[in-house]
Symmetry: C2
Amino acid sequence: MSDHRTPEMHWSRWGNPAEAGPLAESAFALVDAFIGTTDTPAVDAADVRLSEALAPALVSELTAIVGAEFVLTDHETRLHRTRGKSTPDLLKLRRGDGSDSPDAVVRPGSHDEVVALIDWCVRRTVALVPFGGGTSVVGGLAARRDGFAGVISLDLIRFDKLISVDRDSMTVVLEPGLRGPQAEALLAEHGLTIGHFPQSFEYASIGGFAVTRSSGQSSAGYGRFDALVVGLTVATPQGTLELGSSPANAAGPDLREVIMGSEGAFGVVTAVRLRVRPLPAVKVYESWRFDSFVTGHDAMRTLAQSGVLPTVLRLSDENETAINLAKPSEIGAASGADQGGGCLMITGYEGEQAAVDAKRTAVTALLEGLGGTNLGTEGGDAWAAGRFHGPYLRDSLLDVGVLVETLETVTFWSNLDNVYARVKEALTAALGDATLVLCHISHVYETGASLYFTVATKASDDPLARWLAAKAAASDAMVHNGASITHHHAVGQDHKPWLAQEIGPVGVQILRAIKERLDPTGVLNPGVLIP
Amino acid sequence: MSDHRTPEMHWSRWGNPAEAGPLAESAFALVDAFIGTTDTPAVDAADVRLSEALAPALVSELTAIVGAEFVLTDHETRLHRTRGKSTPDLLKLRRGDGSDSPDAVVRPGSHDEVVALIDWCVRRTVALVPFGGGTSVVGGLAARRDGFAGVISLDLIRFDKLISVDRDSMTVVLEPGLRGPQAEALLAEHGLTIGHFPQSFEYASIGGFAVTRSSGQSSAGYGRFDALVVGLTVATPQGTLELGSSPANAAGPDLREVIMGSEGAFGVVTAVRLRVRPLPAVKVYESWRFDSFVTGHDAMRTLAQSGVLPTVLRLSDENETAINLAKPSEIGAASGADQGGGCLMITGYEGEQAAVDAKRTAVTALLEGLGGTNLGTEGGDAWAAGRFHGPYLRDSLLDVGVLVETLETVTFWSNLDNVYARVKEALTAALGDATLVLCHISHVYETGASLYFTVATKASDDPLARWLAAKAAASDAMVHNGASITHHHAVGQDHKPWLAQEIGPVGVQILRAIKERLDPTGVLNPGVLIP
């Protein structure tokens, strides 16, 4: 296995357990005043009720495939493979509900072992949940149990190698279990980068990025992850699928685009061929102030439609900007806007010095002409320093009885203000007073943009029910207003009802047809994606 | 119907019948010397043997759906909807074989009429071939007849409207029957352009571009057609599919990418939402000389991987360059290279003056550093003037017994020289001496490029058999060497066996599963695409 291993994530919190801690005093005072706090600790790890461990006879059969060292049924290992990291996932674990745990964690070491495990699951009618980084926030790791003799977590942690580098074509082949930092470290030895930095970067995996259509904070410069994937190897119950003869072609439907977004329901990705770029020599991050969210997103639209995009482009609405200003070091975003309200924009440039200079000059000229005030690099650097830290704050807030969750969507520019207003309305109506709804845009296209909402409210007696109602209202608002149910969080169990509305009954039939052909016994991540 | 109608294409030749004519004397002398000529006229249109016209009882039922004016069974109309424009298609028609003709040509005027026609075809087990521009060169318009009570051509010629313009999002909704020039004329009234100019531009249709994953001569600047499509409305036997909630999302597999490339086998596209750009204020085309094909394509690779691409970027190999120099006005490509051999590159820039100047300066600096010699705008203008004229020359050559055809592929940069050599070898081995094999690159990516071959050889007694053997050898060379069977010509009937090798048995199962679910009676363009 390679170095650069990320520490195992905390069982009931985001991230590195060493970084878990209470809310800073200043943040606590702010939250206490606006929302109110209640000490709300999690149960002990040992007290979480898991499923029954897999029967010894079945464990023996798995051992014959991958070796005894790689079939685990102990409480701790299974607990660490239970669900993903949505707030509902954490709320359930914090109160001791581990009912979606796998009955065993199996760690294959090769494509052939994955094929053998799939065949075994089909024969034994055991559900199989592929596990990459475990960062799903849409219920992608909570397989249906009904009708199955058990559930195993197919942990891809041993798939952690850089298989090959093609410098002429600027592509690499990576194994799917590589976490973001591992993959970047292996590529840095060759002077290369993927350039994919979602907030989940420190834990999420290459395979997970592909099968969920992840999008990173540098998507304006490097592209969405699905735009970086040029080839895929996929183990399915029907055999192995090798896709990616070429950068692009006209050889029928693009089947890579069927596997991307398939969330383990069609097969297990065992290798990913990616487009890569040279490691940037220079990185510059700046902040800007705009009078309003509308002025700011109009400026983003102009940049996107002019083909003059920085590597990072992000705009906070008035609420998110105000919160960032109040406690920048706690909220993990940028300070530096002046005290006149308005909206904070982050622009980032990565590449060779000359290219960075040229792009920065062009973007600066455009933004100044569109109402932006350049605030220098301090706010940009603060954003870059805290870019992966947001999720830690959520856990500290859950500890004091404050419910925090995020949701996101994407639509065309002409529909953006409408969707922004309708989703905010829906959340506020569902959650009542003393609810904070923040929003930012972090992914832009020529034709539209994403909207990413952060919600904070009192947990109350049943925070799970409270959140599910708000989430349903927001999801209804998205789909009824013609936006997508998800820009980059994928579908899982949680978005499935709205996916059905988004793609319609014929779209659902296409997904079901593929599922039933590739996985007729339905053992692959049952319950996710397919309505 | 809108203005800007393209004249009906010649029944046995490419393009506008008014432009058909004999080979120029100078070209004739050249061809006669190298390959040899034989007068080889086509039969008269009236002598082409077509299928039986659809039975009157069935015609009556169709009339009830679309009206009598729009159900045609006369010889001329059916002849004009017989097959596409590959050389094999033309060879068959020229010798009087119209066996793939539709039994009736039906011209619906609305989505609902298309739905009704599909339902009728399912009930009557009549095969339905969607017809856009009729420019297929892969057998996409030659449906299988066995097992069907007849074959109708679903002619989309009345789908010729610009439905809506969304200026904020820079998208438009177009009907699928619009030919290239019609669509561009409608958009020009709004100051917009699609920027999609394949060689077939003057006849090919918006719907055809989408379902075949077309790529145009300006793809370096505007993108492949599949990258321009943001939404699709599709009539299928299971109902209507509406796709495209957003520019991009994570809502499962991208089903737009399933319909693109589906060639009428999954449904009939009745509306296409496209990303558009401002009409360019300035267009500049230049030519360059490189010492060799390798030096030239290495320079292209550097441009693509530096993100410094002109709007048009094209490189002829040594053979194609030499032919262009010999008879530039006849061959339809550029003159202007000096007399020292080498390879001709075309660079084109379209946009606002300042952006064109900046891009041209950057490209010029890079190309000069990579061994290029700038030859000025004369050769570029000659290329632009003749860019849609190549296919007319093929007909003039067929008239004198010279077999001409093109084929194309795409692969990664590291495999480009290998594929180039293997395909040339295969063609030369199959066709023998006195065969010209020319090649150019006209589409580049960061990770690879297309290769487009033009072949000219003596027709001999059985040119069809001669070509099919050469085509099979070239196709084997592509797929065995890891390249795609097609970069932008699609699959049709002709590439189907190699598609199966390219996507493998599991890939084939995915296509079959979708086909069987959406079109269980198999009436939609039977025989194309699905292996």
